[in-house]
Amino acid sequence: VNARLATAAALVAAVLGAMASFVLTTVAMDSLPDAVVVGVSALVAFVLVASGGGWRVLGTLRAIERRALVLGLIGGAFAFWGAPLLALSQRATSAPSGADTLFFTTTIWGVLVVLGAYFFVGKRTALTGIAGAVCSAAGAAGLLASWEYPSSFSPFAKFPVREALMLVAGLIFAAGVLALAEAAARLGTRVTATLGLGAAAALGLIASLPGLSVAASAGRSAWRPSVYLGIAVAIFAVSWIWMAARAGASAASASLLLVPPVMTALAVYEQSTAAYGVNPFEMRGVLTGSAIVMIGAGVVLVSAADRDDSRALRGRAVAISVWVAVVACALAVVSLGTPSLNALSEGHITESFRAAWTMLGFESAAGWMPLAAALLALAGSLEARRGQAARTWIVASLAVFACALAMPLLASTTLHTWNDWIPAAVQQTYGTEYARFSVSAIVDPVRVGAIALAVVSAGALGVAAACGANAGRPKEEGSR
C-alpha cells in the first residue's frame, strides 16, 4: 500500500511539475532569450536536486559505472536541455496556439515515450500501453479542441514546420528520459537526477552565454519566471525518474498524458471564479475528452504489470476477439479517410465569403475514437492470449466501451478549424457577428462498424474470461 501511495504521489508531483513547466515556460519565454530560459531553469533545478544530497555524487563519479554515467549525462542533456530548447525555439505568442503547443509538448511526448519504452527498452511493457497512449492522445485532442469554439486547436494547419519540430523535440525528450530511466535503474533517483540536470545545466550555461548580455539588461522580474520554472523542472525530473525507476518509463509517461485535463480543470476553476469573464469551454467535449485521457492514461499505468503464461486465455472466443479486433482496426483506419463533418465557413467583412465542405475522419475528434478502441481491443486480446495480468486487458476492454460512448459525444468536435485556403480576415473574426464556422456530424457506417466491432471484440474477450478459457486450466483439471 505504501509503495502504491508513493507511486501515486510521484505521479501527482510529475503531473504538477510538467504542468507548471509548461505554464512557466509560456510566461518566461517573453522575458528572456530561449537559451537563457532553458539554461537558468536547468541550473536552478540542478542546484535544488544537488543541495538535497546530490553534491555527494560529484565526489563519487569515478565509482559510478561508466555506461550508467554516460546514460545519465546524455539523458539529462537530451531531456532537460535539448528537447525543451528546441520546443521553446518553435514557440511564439499564439503561434502555434496554446492548445496545439500543449498537445505537441506533453501528450505527444508522452506517447513517444510509451512507444520508445515498448520498442527500445529491454523489458517490454504490454502492447495495451501503446493502445492506451493512443486512446489518451485521442481524448486529449478532443479535450483541447473543446477549449473554445471555434477552436484554435488545428494540428499541422497553420504552423506545420514548428509543430513538426516539436515532434522532433519529443523524440529527443523520449530518448533522453528513456536513457535516464535506464540509468536510474542502476544508480537510483538522486544520483541520476543530479547527473542529468547537471549535464543540462552545464550545456544550458554554455548556450546561454551569447544571450546573457541581453538578459543582464532585463530587470529582476524578468528572471523570476525562469527561476520558478527551474523549481518545476526539478519537481518533474525527480518524480519522473523515481517513478520510471520503479514502475518503468512507460508508466511514468502517464504524467505527461494527464497534463491537459489537469490544466483544463484549473482553467475551468479559474473561469468559474469569473476572474476572466465568460467561460469559453465546450463542457461536453472537455468532460468527454478528459475522461478518455484519464482512461487511456490508466491503461498505460496498468500495462506495466508482469506476464504470467499460466494465466493466458485460449479458445475460440479469444481467437474471435483477436480477429474481430483486426477487422475493427482495418475499418478504423479506413474511416479516418471517410466523411465525418459537414463544415461551413461564413464571413461578412467587406465582401461576403461562404464555403461549405466535407471534413474527413482524421479531422474530427470522434474520427479517432474507433482507432483507439480497435487498438485497445486488439492489444487487450493479444495480451490476454500472452498471459498478461488480467487487470491489464480488463482495463483495456473497459476503455473500448468508454471510447464507444465518447464517439457520439465528440461527433461535432473538429480538430481542423483553421485552413490555409480560407481568407485570413474571415478566420480571424470567427466567433464575432462578422464570421462564423460551424460543423454538423455525419454518421458514417464504416466508422460505426469499426467501433461496433471493437466493442464486440472486447465483449468476446470478456466471454472468454467468464467461461474460464485459461490455457493452464485443462492441465490443472487433468491433474485432479
Binding site: 479517410g337 465582401e351 464555403a355 474527413l360 475522419g361 482524421f362 482507432l371 485556403w421 481568407p423
Partner: protein, 274 residues
C-alpha cells in the same frame, strides 16, 4: 496497423489537398431604400485552394425608381416652399403612385386636398446618404459606388490622438475602432455610421440606439452644424450622436470610470468629422 495508419493518413491528406469546396459567388445589388435590385449569386464547386477567390459582393446604389422618387419629392417640396400647391399636388400624386409611403407625401397630399398649405419637408434631400443616383449598372472592379464608400467619410483614417483600426462594414453601416496613441483619458474610441432609408428613420435610430443607451450627463451640442447629443451610461461609456440626413453617426468613448470627463475629448473627436 501502423503501416495502414500511415497509408490512410497519407491518403486522407492527399484527398484533403484536392478537396472540393462549395462556395457562393456573385453580386447582390441593393437599393439605398433597402430593396434588392438584382441578385446573381450562385453556389459553385471549386478546388479548396481556389475558394478564397470567390465571394459575394454587395453593391448599394439608388435604383431608378427611388432616383425618380427623390427627384419628384424634391420638386414637390420645392413647389410647396414657393407656395405652388397645384404643382406640388401633381408631383406628390406621382410620388404616391410610385410609393404610397414615401416621406410625408401622403399627409401633404391630404392636406392640399383639404385646401391646406402643408410645410415643405426639409429633412429629406434627394442626395443625402446616397452614393450614386445613376441607374443600376454592373459594378466595375475598384469602383466606390457602395454605401460603405460614402459612409467611410465618417470613419476617417486619422483622428488626432488615436490610431485607427480596420473599418468593418456591411451594406448599410460602417464601424471603426480607434486606440489612443498616447496618454488619453479614453481607453478606446469607436465610430459607427449607419445608413437609414430616411432622415426620420435616422433620427428614430438615434433615439433608440444612442439616447436610450446613454441617459446620464446629457447635453446637447452643436458639432459642425449638426445638432448633437452627448450622454454617458454613468459607468464607463460616453457617446456623441447626431444625424446627417439619413445617416446616423455615433461615436463612443470608454474610460475605466467617470465617463462624464470624456465630454471635451468626445467633442474634439466629433469636430474632426465632416
Amino acid at each position: 496497423v501502423t503501416l495502414m495508419m500511415a497509408l490512410a493518413v497519407a491518403g486522407a491528406s492527399a484527398t484533403g489537398c484536392q478537396r472540393k469546396v462549395q462556395v457562393k459567388s456573385g453580386t447582390i445589388t441593393m437599393c439605398t431604400a433597402g430593396e434588392v435590385v438584382s441578385d446573381d449569386v450562385k453556389t459553385i464547386t471549386v478546388p479548396a485552394n481556389k475558394a478564397a477567390a470567390y465571394s459575394v459582393r454587395t453593391v448599394t446604389v439608388t435604383c431608378d425608381k427611388h432616383t425618380q422618387l427623390q427627384a419628384l419629392y424634391a420638386e414637390s417640396q420645392a413647389a410647396l416652399a414657393t407656395g405652388d400647391t397645384k404643382l406640388a399636388e401633381a408631383k406628390l400624386a406621382q410620388v404616391l403612385a410610385l410609393d404610397p409611403a414615401y416621406g410625408k407625401a401622403k399627409a401633404q397630399a391630404a392636406a392640399i386636398a383639404k385646401g391646406g398649405k402643408p410645410a415643405p419637408d426639409t429633412s429629406l434631400t434627394p442626395s443625402t446618404g446616397t452614393t450614386t443616383t445613376a441607374p443600376v449598372a454592373p459594378p466595375k472592379p475598384g469602383e466606390t459606388t457602395t454605401t460603405v464608400g460614402a459612409l467611410g467619410k465618417w470613419t476617417p483614417d486619422s483622428i488626432t490622438g488615436f490610431v485607427a483600426g480596420r473599418p468593418l462594414s456591411d451594406a448599410l453601416s460602417v464601424s471603426r475602432e480607434y486606440i489612443p496613441s498616447g496618454s488619453s483619458p479614453a481607453q478606446g474610441l469607436v465610430i459607427v455610421a449607419e445608413q437609414f432609408r430616411t432622415a426620420a428613420d435616422a433620427k428614430s435610430g438615434m433615439e433608440h440606439e444612442v439616447k436610450q443607451s446613454y441617459t446620464k450627463n446629457v447635453a446637447t451640442l452643436k458639432i459642425n452644424g449638426h445638432d448633437a447629443y452627448f450622454g454617458t451610461d454613468g459607468k464607463r461609456f460616453a457617446a456623441i450622436g447626431f444625424t446627417d440626413g439619413a445617416v446616423m453617426v455615433a461615436l463612443e468613448l470608454t474610460s475605466p470610470s467617470s465617463p462624464q470627463n470624456l465630454r471635451s475629448l468626445a467633442e474634439q473627436v466629433a469636430k474632426q468629422l465632416p
